[in-house]
Structure formats: C-alpha cells, structure tokens
Amino acid sequence: MVCAYPITPQTPIVEYIAEFIARGEMKSKYLTIEGEHSAMMATVAAASTGVRTFTATSSQGLSYMQEGLFYAAGSRLPIVMAVVNRSMGPPWTILTGHDDSIAQRDTGWMQVYCGSGQEILDTIIQAYRIAEDERVLIPIMVCFEGFVTSHCYEEVVIPDEEEVEEYLPPYRPAYKLDVEDPLILTTFAPPAHWMGYKKKHDEAMEAAKKVIMEAEEEFAERFGRRHGGLLQAYHCEDAEAVILTMGNLASTTRLVVEKLRREGFHLGLVKLRSFRPFPASELRELLGKVKAVGVLERNYSVGGFGGAVYHELRSALYGLNGPRILGFIAGMGGKDVTPSEIEAVAKKTLRAASGERIEGEVEWLLGGMA
C-alpha cells in the first residue's frame, strides 16, 4: 500500500507512483489522504495488517508526521519512506538541506543518505530487505537531497523485476492484524517493561548494521553495483586527512579528493550512508589512526556547536587519541557546494593533519555572504 501526501520536492514521486498504480503497472493500493500526519498513521495501520508499504515526504511534511514516526518505529513496522531533504522553514525555502531528517534522528527509524538516482533506486530495494529482516523490523528513511538529487535527470539502470523479486522475497510479517485472530497492538507498557522495549529496539538497530552489509553484498553479487552499505571509503588506507560527508556532496568531494591525490596530498573520503544505525565502531576502525577529519554536512544544531554528524563522530572517536575533527556547515537552504569550496575544506583539514594550529572548530561555508 502506498499512502503519501504531496509536498515539494517530493511530489513527482507521489505522482509517478499514483500513475503506475492507476495504469496497473504496480500492484498496490494507493490511498489519497489529507495530510502527512494521517499519511504516516494510515501507513502504520496498513503495515499492521502485514502488507508492504511505502510513503514519501519532505521537510515540514516530515515534521508534521513526527508523532507517527515514533508510532511506526515503536510498533516495529518495516515501513520504507523516501525523504526528499529540504531545509526546514522559516526562513522559507523549498530547497535542500539535511536538517529536516536529522531533526527526526531520535524517532527510532533507520536513516540512509543517498546521492544519486541509481543509489536511491538500489537503496529503496535494499531498504525492504533490511527493514523486513526478522533481526531488524525497524522502519527506514531513504534520504536524498531535494532538487539537486531528486530532480537531477541522469542515467539509472532499472533492474529486472524478476531479479528484484528473487532478491526481495515476499514479506512475511512477524505479527499482523487479523480478523481470524484479533490482537491489540502496541498497547500500554508498564514502567518495568517500557525501557526494555527500547533496549530491544536499540539492539535491533545494532543488528541492522550486519543486515545492511549483507543486503549490500548480496545486491552487489546479483546486480553488480555497490554503494557501500553503512559507509563507503575512498583512499582511506594511507590518508592523513579524511573528508566525511553524506549524500551527493560525497560525489563532488570524490572529484576533489582525486584531484588533490594527483597533486600528492594524502587525502581520503568517507561517504557516510547510514546515519541510523550510526556505524561508530566501523568509524573508529577506519579513522582512529587518521590525523584529521573534516566533517562536511548539510545540517546544524542552532545553539549547539556543530552539525549532528560532527557531534556523533567526535563522540565515536572520543578517548582514542585520534584525529583532530573539524566541522564544516554547508549546503543548507539550497546553497550550492562547489568543488573549489570543498577543496578549501580539504586543504584546511590537511593543514590540521600536518599539525598546524587551526582557530575555531566549526566553519560555515557561506560563499559570498561570509
């Protein structure tokens, strides 16, 4: 069942799916609804009956469904939702920023960030495998930038339907609403139990890391494409400085890394795909011996002192005597992030790696507005 309420820049997704269903090309029910809160609750209800579900939203729509996000995650329903990232207004905008989905970090959903059409398609297919795995049973957001990624026309290989069905067998729910065997779902948990449910949820998140990697491996075997699972590392083996980023910034950053590599700099790149579960141990392993990491991200916690990824990476590497970590806030409210800006980020991180004293931990890439 698909139930979604249109919001720019997610609208084409809803329109195309509605068309696919109307033409009979996609075997699904489509439910028209009056708003995002209802869209999420209807999706929760449909998923509770044991069917596969999909929805999509963006920014204010995502925040409007927040109560439902907790409901879906607490009910442990493997809903797949596309989040077309758009900065939260005001100041009003319809353009990209990861601040909308980062604000929903603690709802208990998995979050994967993608940066190209192919990666989105492949990740949506994988997302069902991951979310529906009995070791996981957690809803998942597949996040990607509004317009710059969502409205970018590019080549996408569409896999064969039969092959996808082999990769993604029919969903067998762990429990469901059934008139033959009625259940009361997600009822009151007494104080002695409530935290136990949360602990189980957290353990399932941890288990999801393994499932994400398995889904990636089998996908690569069958379809010949790889996106990295939890994260993708380039040239990190001998890197002194590493740029860590999410979404389509990783693509442009790769260009910069390859250029600076040719110029002799020991620079690497980590494309963080899975923000929830956060691959803390994997990042410790990968970055523990690097001298400096520059975190480039499209979100910021106002009144905090950095973006969410910056905070979490520092947390993950705490106590290792590990790298100097610099934060770079960029690309919110639709601000473009250019290769030359990323090159400056890389050079600053390289300077930090060489031991140079750098004033200030977090820099805002404001372009001409600095």
């Binding site: 607490g74 009910s75 442990r76 049973l137 762990a174 429990y175 065997d181 009625p182 259940l183 009361i184 779902l185 997600t186 009822t187 009151f188 948990a189 139990h193 935290m195 136990g196 449910y197 602990k199 189980k200 949820h201 399932a204």
Partner: protein
C-alpha cells in the same frame, strides 16, 4: 523473544523475553474481572423496562444483555460508569452504591 500473539505475561525475568512491541490477544477484558463499580452497580427495575435496548447499545463495556425482555448486567465486568442509567428513557436503571466499593 516472547511468542507473538500471546498474552503478555505478568512477569518477565529479562527484557529479552519481551515481544518486540506490546501485543495482547484481543478480548482481554473477558479475563480481567472488574468487580469494582465506580458510581455503584446499575440495578434494573424490570417492571419499568420497556425493552428499548438503549442501555445495551450505550454500554461501553458490552456487559449488558437483553434477552426475552429482561435486562442482564454482568457485574463481574461492569465498571459502574452509569451511562446506562443516564441513557434509560424511563428511569428503570438506578446506580446503587455498594458497601464494599463505596463510590468516591
């Protein structure tokens, strides 16, 4: 992991035994007796009763039966809310306070 669809157990030794989310087989109120009546027990004057079944319709707990013109209340599951007495168009139901469960 607790078995899906089972009633929740009264006690668990570890959180690991919990189901993934709280699930109860529907119909739990059949097992849960509520022999306390908040506003008293609804007593029915069968002579006044006109058999309209409004009490049956309004009872939120589904514990009122009307058979052969007689109104029967399942006092083991009635919570004593008083809605039936309030809705009865002929005043045939009176809420009677109980000595062992004094209201308020």
């Amino acid at each position: 992991m607790g078995k899906m669809g089972d009633r929740l157990k009264a006690e668990y030794k570890s959180y690991r035994e919990l189901p993934i989310t709280p699930l109860i087989k529907a119909g739990i109120s059949k097992f849960a007796e509520t022999p306390w009546h908040l506003h008293g027990r609804p007593e029915v004057d069968q002579a006044k009763c006109i058999g309209c079944r409004l009490c049956w319709l309004y009872c939120p707990e589904g514990v009122i039966k009307v058979e052969d013109g007689r109104v029967e209340v399942d006092y083991a599951r009635c919570k004593g809310c008083g809605i039936c007495a309030n809705e009865c168009p002929v005043g045939a139901i009176t809420m009677v306070l109980e000595a062992e469960n004094p209201a308020r």
